[in-house]
Amino acid sequence: MATRITFRVDGKDETVTVDPDMPLLYALRDDLGLDNPRFGCGLAQCGACTVHLDGVPTRSCVTPTSAAEGRAVTTLAGLGTPERPHPVQQAYIDEQVPQCGYCINGWIMTAAAFLRDNRDPSEAQIREALTGLKCRCGTHMAILRAVKRAASLA
């Protein structure tokens, strides 16, 4: 049964009328036209669909849209802009990280939340925080350089 669900996305109030069990990923992509969270697996295994839900990195492919009711969603597009880049975005550019780039929502959104809560992380802590995310192009080393750089920028 389609239901009205209201939440904030990247600072804007939005309402969608959808099956409340539909994963948030499809509400963002298909109802709101926000393409940047991506479908990678639909199984919470890769991170391509990651957004922040009230600041917490969340895999939108397995999160029912109803779980977003009244809450704040931040996507990669809302994290920063070319004029005001988030430190992780800036570091990603400085380090020229992505190859295909299809994976980056997972890495950037997870790293952004991690660095917010951990000011001066060790390399081992960074690896631990990012474990489980997938990058098929093999940009692992550049990702680690970028997150370390972002830690020093933040």
């Binding site: 990678g40 550019i93 992505p98 780039g101 950037i108 098929r136 192009c137 093999g138 080393m141 550049a142």
Partner: protein, 761 residues
């Protein structure tokens, strides 16, 4: 006819043709023109304007008939075109992979983007510059030889105040000229004009670090992928695949779809899909549809029997790419024989996102949006599949979720085109994760048998290297023939399998070494299931590199160990070409390699450390790797501590981009060696997601990777993005031997397998 004559006359007069057709600058629309728009005529291969346009605002566009999968190939093309035009690279835009706007240069293929793909663009740009200089000479009243060009301004060398810019020369006209086309399409396409490209010694832009263009767009979520294409009235579709490979639907109950708005099934022979206006509804419909599948006989052996199956299967074809001397006789007469067999499993593309395509099939023409790295082949294949002329099919490449060869992206355009025709609407097909792992083409599993004879002094007298494997091209590497698509195969179309393994003229294992007698041979075996198989085989990133170099460079290490030699010294003793030697020296010096025979030292502790080396060629590129590992004897886990990778791929166009390409390729190769293996049971593939097909995690990534690049300005650039993939397996296995004295001869080197090998030692 008159027009033709006058064109010729114009050409004779000036060597150039300038016609008054305004070209639109700011080409490259992010979203292709809407469906139903008339198809424009194809760019002719023998014309300058098909490759390079110089615009009234002083910018230029390069039309590149390949694509960039995120390795910065477009930047390298911009650099090369900018170099010839004497423009800053920022003023050169690159249009890629649109069949209506670029000539078929074969798409991304064999890491040939720069080595082959850049050549016609370079030549066309040189011709354009010559024409502009001739126009300036006429305008300024001096001979062309008295002019110089800098940043798009042509000036008199002796009197720089006399000058004219490209903008002023072009005005609203369009630069064009006839070029000599070599009559080839694809990787080998080339054109030449009157102009000579710049000597490399004069390069200013090529060889400098230029940042990628797509990165900021991607990082700020402004880059469109093929998954983001939406058309008015578009339907979302999902495919249904059988639980037992080879089974077909025998009954389909659509009743459960009635509860889902607009959902419907499309069933024809083995082709079964659902479609709905909303994506979530298509996903729900796929789950709801009740399908009865035919009782198919289990097509596969038990996985544990895979390598025995390969050994025992009848050979369908044999090839001998290299025969020097009589290696079997030399081995038979040798003082000592060293022999080993190496096994390598099927690997999956498992791209970051599963395949996706959008098709709009109408009577007046067909449009396809594809992430396939060969959009021209998609055009030709879909045209044949639908039975329409290729000129009426317009395929547009849009960045896909990773592409490393003929992956599942190559099947989706056929599904989408079939569904669009059946449903009379534009259709977007996206595969599931299960299909991206379980139903993509696989790299072929193989067994390599290697034997060598040593004389009394420990010198190699002969070597034989024999591969037995599934074909590398059961499915062709391009989409140009629809019989290679899943859609055609489930619809009962014919087959197009090729039995190939090593190509003549391709790289051969142990190539760099001056062994006196060599025999390199291969045999292919029949596929386990001849059509629509989840284990059908084709090209995957660095085709055959990981398995063959794992075997060859492990074996060279075994020879070094058998003769008590240091693995690097042993290699240096047998290398003959300076480029191979230079790479090996560069990486071992950087790694601080101390000569000694490989093998464990001191009392065995819980954690054993070792180092290993590998060296390989790939189509003119030389790569080498030193890997330092730590083996946990208890768990069997291999920790890669440090990797020093060296590469010589001729002239370096963009050192920053190259460094990252090499590093990514190495990490990917490490993933394949340490983690990856397609699993299956008698019925089907069982590695169907990231949990069942693990890849290298960031927590397991090497502690440090160092990239050593060797620039060869006098050697044309060769493939850069794939060679390092092949170095990982042998260097890691050799390092494990150094640490523990145990040889790993089967990939991947999972903890369980290492533990078993240690227990058996």
């Amino acid at each position: 006819m008159t027009l033709r004559l006058s064109r010729r006359a114009a050409l004779r007069a000036t060597g150039a043709l300038v016609v008054t057709v305004a070209a639109a600058p700011g080409e490259a629309p992010a979203q292709p023109a809407g469906a139903g728009a008339p198809l424009s005529p194809l760019p002719p291969p023998g014309r300058l304007a098909s490759y390079v346009a110089v615009h009234a605002d002083g910018t230029a566009t390069a039309f590149f008939g390949k694509i960039d999968g995120g390795q910065g190939l477009d930047v390298a093309i911009a650099q090369i075109v900018a170099e010839e035009l004497d423009l800053p690279p920022a003023r050169v835009r690159v249009v890629m992979g649109d069949t209506a706007r670029t000539v078929n240069q074969g798409g991304a293929s064999n890491a040939s983007g720069v080595s082959q793909g850049a050549v016609p663009l370079r030549n066309a740009a040189a011709e354009a510059r010559l024409m502009l200089v001739e126009m300036a000479a006429a305008r300024l009243g001096v001979p062309p030889g008295a002019l110089r060009v800098e940043d798009g301004t042509v000036s008199v060398a002796a009197d720089p105040a006399r000058r004219v810019t490209y903008e002023e020369l072009i005005g609203d006209r369009r630069l064009d000229a006839e070029l000599r086309w070599n009559g080839r399409y694809g990787n080998d396409l080339n054109v030449e004009g009157r102009a000579r490209p710049k000597p490399i010694a004069d390069y200013k832009v090529v060889g400098t670090a230029v940042p990628r263009r797509d990165i900021a767009e991607k990082v700020f979520a402004r880059h469109a992928y093929v998954t983001d294409i939406r058309l008015p009235g578009m339907l979302h579709a999902r495919m249904l695949r059988p639980p037992v490979a080879g089974a077909r639907p025998v009954a389909v109950d659509e009743a459960p779809l009635r509860a889902i708005p607009g959902a419907r099934a499309v069933w024809k022979e083995g082709f079964l899909a659902v479609a709905a206006p909303r994506e979530w509804d298509a996903i729900r419909a796929a789950a709801a549809l009740k399908v009865t599948w035919s009782e198919a006989a289990p097509p596969f052996p038990e996985q544990a029997a895979l390598y025995d199956h390969i050994r025992n299967a009848p050979a369908t074809k044999r090839g001998v790419p290299l025969q020097e001397g009589d290696a079997p006789a030399a081995i038979a007469g040798a003082a000592r024989v060293v022999a080993a067999e190496y096994e390598w499993p099927f690997h999956s593309h498992s791209s970051m996102g599963p395949g996706c395509a959008v098709a709009d099939v109408r009577p007046e023409g067909v449009r396809i949006w594809t992430g396939s790295q060969k959009p021209h082949a998609v055009r030709d294949g879909v045209a044949k599949f639908l039975g329409v002329p290729p000129e009426t099919v317009h395929a547009v490449w849009v960045t896909g979720p990773g592409s490393y060869g003929r992956n599942d992206a190559g099947d989706t355009p056929f599904d989408a085109a079939f569904l669009s025709r059946e449903l009379g609407a534009p259709v977007r097909v996206q595969y599931t994760r299960h299909e991206g792992h379980g139903w993509d083409t696989k790299s072929p599993a193989s067994v390599q048998r290697v034997r060598a004879g040593l004389d009394a002094e420990g010198r190699v007298v002969g070597i034989t290297f024999e591969s037995k494997a599934f074909s590398r091209t059961n499915i062709a590497t391009s989409e140009a023939d629809p019989r290679d698509s899943l859609a055609s195969q489930v619809l009962g179309g014919g087959l197009n399998p090729q039995d190939t393994y090593l190509f003549p003229g391709d790289f051969v294992p142990t190539e760099p070494y001056a062994f006196p007698a060599r025999l390199m041979a291969w045999e292919t075996i029949p596929p386990l299931l001849d059509r629509a198989s989840p284990l059908r085989t084709s090209h995957l990133r660095d085709p055959l590199g990981p398995e063959l170099i794992f075997a060859a460079e492990s074996f060279v290490d075994e020879l070094a160990a058998a003769t008590g030699a240091d693995p690097v010294e042993f290699r240096l003793r047998h290398l003959r070409e300076e480029r191979d030697i230079a790479v090996l020296r560069a990486i071992t010096e950087r790694a601080g390699w101390e000569p000694r025979p490989a093998g464990p030292r001191g009392a065995p502790g819980d954690r054993a450390r070792g180092r290993g080396v590998s060296l390989a060629r790939r189509d003119g590129t030389v790569v080498g790797l030193v890997a330092e590992v730590e083996v946990d004897r208890g768990s069997g886990a291999i920790r890669v501590r440090r990797m020093v990778v060296g590469q010589d791929c001729g002239l370096i166009i963009n050192p920053d981009g190259l460094r990252r390409c090499v590093e990514n390729a190495l990490i990917y190769g490490t993933s394949r060696a340490l983690r990856e293996e397609v699993t299956f049971d008698r019925n089907n593939v069982t590695s169907v997601d990231w949990a069942t097909y693990p890849i290298l995690d960031v927590a397991e990534a090497p502690e440090a990777v160092e990239v050593v690049l060797i620039n060869r300005p006098d050697i044309r650039p060769t493939g850069a993005g794939e060679p390092a993939v092949r170095t990982a397996g042998a260097a890691i296995a050799n390092a494990v031997f150094d640490a523990t004295g145990v040889r790993l001869r089967r990939g991947p080197f999972t903890p369980e397998r290492v533990r078993a090998a240690l227990a058996g030692a």
